[in-house]
Amino acid sequence: MTAATTSVTTASLADRVQQWWRNSNIPPVYGFVVIIFLLSIVLDLLFGVDDQLFITNPVILTNILVRSVALGIVAIGQTFVIIGASIDLSVAFMISVTAVGGSYLMAGDPSRVWWTVLVLLGLGVLVGLINGLLITRLKINPLIATLGIGLILKGLLNAAFDNFAGAVPRSFQSFAYDNIGPLPISVLVLFAVVVAGWFILRRTKYGAHLYSVGGSQEVARLSGIRTGRVLTIAHIICSLTAVLTGLFVVSRLRSGAPWVGTDGLYDLESIAAVVVGGTALSGGKGGVLGTLGGVLIFSLLDTMFNQIGIDAYLKQILRGAIIILAVGFYTFRSVEEPS
């Protein structure tokens, strides 16, 4: 082969990679995930506090995934409502309610686990239903409706509890701490939620309708879609994922306190993860795989910052900067594309 043909093939290889990337339907956020992953290896080499590289340490790698579980599950639910051009600010409060309610109701007794979970899931359905009806029937702005419901939940919770209350039985803690094979149960649950979310959005009629409602209420309505019902179901799904996250949090902490959800910033961070994942806040575009990427970025950063011993406040500053950077990149790209 001559030099000329070689250079042609390398050029077309770059093109082909680009082409493949475009056709593969992989959300662009995974580009960031890869970059940050490589960056953390470099930083680990340069500034790592111990001798071992974190990518060779399965404990740290698994830890990255476990860190993603709490935020990941609720962010999947948040993805649903945001695709429907709505938003849910009540999730953090719902997580607190579930965590405290869980440990209080279970009271260390394994026989109480199953009905406690059912009661909490029922509560999730109820709160999601109220959110959805306020938004679709009374036409209250979703930001206000869900914030209002969240504050009501917080008030009720603070009236009843002022500290850690009760405890979950040891058996329930296996949700957070035990493995099936090499993977923690919690990570498997996260994956199950992601797969279920992907399936509902991409493969079912309901998913198609949710994208339509988020893309244009008018188009959806004129096509005979019952827009209010579709959006209300999205809110119920979102509340249910908040309950699941709450159950994971309490199984990890053994006992829930009224501040665990809000201190975890699950409301704002779930929205940030969805947006970093490439789902448009204006609705109609995006998906759960992107959201998972967004969540992975956050846990990768956390792990990396821990590895090189970055101060907690600096950590927050860097997180904020990365959120802005990622979203700025999407906007820039969507402005550039048409030309």
């Binding site: 493969r203 079912t204 009629k205 309901y206 998913g207 198609a208 309708h209 994208y211 339509s212 893309g215 244009s216 008018e218 188009v219 959806a220 004129l222 096509s223 005979g224 879609i225 448009a280 109609g284 575009k285």
Partner: protein, 519 residues
């Protein structure tokens, strides 16, 4: 009409859709007055008329989007009642609006089958959906150009329209209504659409379309209905009609409004704005001069580039080529703030979104632009903050804005009063060149006359005025000169006393090819 009913119909002589004695009233206007029309299968039926004649209203009544006051609709001989566009669509009446009802972020297949995706237990059968999509596209012979899994937003406007049509016929449409289907298309794309219409016609679908382009109407349709001011003037076979006849029926109305006197020769002063050979993406080859003291009327159909011209002059979407002289100096506005600094004003056609800040009081709206001319927090400026209030009161009184208080939020004013506030805004900046786009749209007759009076007054005081209007009587009544636009450029200029027919002839792009048909 006895004549038309006797004509041989390829799909039988029973009308597929018939409207009888339709009346539709909007607050203050009778949009449709006792309209009856029959539409036949396998026939292209054009509905024409000036803006506000009731064409779109009639379409929406037939498609179930509007509820009528009176009259009946028959589909294939049976009386039908549609409460929702979906019901009409399921019955076989599909409508395609000017603004497409499509989702840019979804695929072609998802758009065509939105709301009725083929599924098993709620799980979408994607293979089925894609093959159904190909099937529908095949009927339009578009299966090679448009792929079912392409994102809609990546398609051209013409291709998106094909998807709209595919969606419509996938409901087994027997009647396809298109509201100005060619308005959004570039001239080379129109051919695709006309070919499609013919193909659908041969399959026995009744096609009803609204168009302002009369040459196209005469070319494509077998039957034409003319509406004017909500009344049906005539329905006849196209072969019995000519361009001249249609125009005559569309405009046959007397100039009943009162307009102020035109400019006297001594009013006309120096050239304020001269544009030579200028173009941008939306308009091309523009040559235009406006002098102080004159009102230049701009006539043209929707999409002819009227508004684009005003936007180009004002720097919203600036000219990219050509030379522009302002007050005798070569200058090109790249953004509106430059135009405003050179004492230009632009009264847009959409006063609620582009002309006013609805939630702010009259006072702040009137001062909106003058404030941009002041330095931030500059007290020393001749129009310091203290004097603002007087200025706002002065101009709005001069414009006769009727309000109990300058603190009244403009959203609570009537349309006419709102427009006066917009005018006050430009009066406050002492604009020397004013561009008006539909200055009296949606305004009652009395206020209309007073706004006309004010515009003439401004011209008399030395302002150069460019006035765009789709109401021909307004253009004729107000202008000292009339320029006519078509297809993004100025196709002709007419003197003050031009007739509606002369203008319509130029504006429909028919002046060149059949001048002999001028009535």
């Amino acid at each position: 009409m006895a004549l038309s009913d006797s004509v041989q119909q390829p799909f039988g002589d029973q009308p597929i859709l018939e409207v009888k004695n339709i009346t539709k009233r909007f607050p203050g206007v009778l949009a449709l007055d006792d309209v009856s029309v029959k539409f036949y299968p396998g026939e292209v039926h054009a509905v024409v008329g000036e803006n506000g004649a009731g064409k779109s209203t009639l379409m929406k009544v037939m498609a179930g989007a509007y509820q009528r006051e009176n009259g009946q609709i028959f589909l294939a001989g049976e009386q039908v009642e549609f409460d929702h566009p979906q019901e009409a669509q399921n019955a076989g009446i599909s409508i395609i609006y000017q603004e497409f009802n499509l989702l840019p972020e979804r695929t072609v297949a998802e758009n065509i089958f939105v709301g009725r995706e083929p599924n098993r237990l709620g799980v979408i059968d994607r293979k089925q959906m894609e093959s159904d999509t190909i099937e529908v596209l095949k009927q339009l012979e578009a299966e090679d150009i448009i792929k079912p899994d392409a994102l809609l937003g990546t398609l051209s406007v013409a291709e998106q329209q094909v998807v709209e049509i595919a969606k419509a016929i996938s409901y087994d449409a027997r009647v396809l209504i298109m509201d100005e289907p060619t308005a959004a298309l570039a001239s080379h794309e129109v051919g695709i659409l006309t070919e499609l219409m013919l193909r659908l016609k041969t399959r026995g679908i009744a096609i009803i379309f609204i168009s302002h382009r009369l040459a196209e109407v005469l070319d494509l349709s077998q039957r034409i209905t003319v509406l004017k001011d909500g009344v049906k003037i005539c329905t006849d076979l196209t072969e019995n009609l000519s361009m001249g006849k249609v125009v005559e029926m569309m405009v046959g109305r007397e100039l009943s409004d009162y307009f102020p006197d035109r400019a006297r020769p001594e009013d006309i002063g120096q050239v304020m704005l001269a544009i030579r050979n200028a173009s941008n993406g939306a308009v091309h080859d523009i040559d235009l001069e406006i002098r102080s003291g004159e009102i230049v009327g701009v006539a043209g159909l929707q999409g002819s580039g009227r508004t684009a011209l005003a936007r180009a002059i004002f720097g919203v979407q600036p000219f990219t080529t050509g030379t522009i002289e302002i007050h005798g100096r070569a200058e090109l506005f790249r953004k509106p703030s430059q135009a405003i600094r050179s004492r230009f004003g632009y009264v847009t056609e959409d006063r609620k979104n582009e002309g006013l800040v609805l939630m702010q009081p009259i006072n702040d709206n009137v001062l909106l632009t003058i404030r941009t001319l002041q330095r931030l927090l500059a007290r020393a400026f001749p129009l310091g903050i203290r004097q603002d209030k007087n200025l706002a009161i002065e101009v709005s009184e001069h414009m006769d804005v009727r309000t109990p208080s300058m603190e009244q939020e403009v959203q609570y004013l009537s349309g006419g009063n709102q427009q006066k506030v917009v005018l006050s805004k430009w009066l406050a900046t002492d604009a020397k060149v004013l561009l008006f786009d539909e200055p009296t749209r949606g305004i009652d007759v009395e206020t209309k006359a007073s706004i006309h009076e004010r515009i003439r007054e401004l011209a008399r005081a030395g302002t150069a005025v460019l006035m765009i209007s789709s109401e021909l009587p307004e253009v004729i009544g107000m202008s000292d000169r009339i320029i006519v636009m078509w297809d993004g450029t100025i196709v002709g200029e007419l003197p003050a006393a031009a007739t509606e027919a002369e203008i319509m002839h130029m504006a429909t792009g028919s002046a060149d090819n059949d001048a002999e048909q001028t009535p």
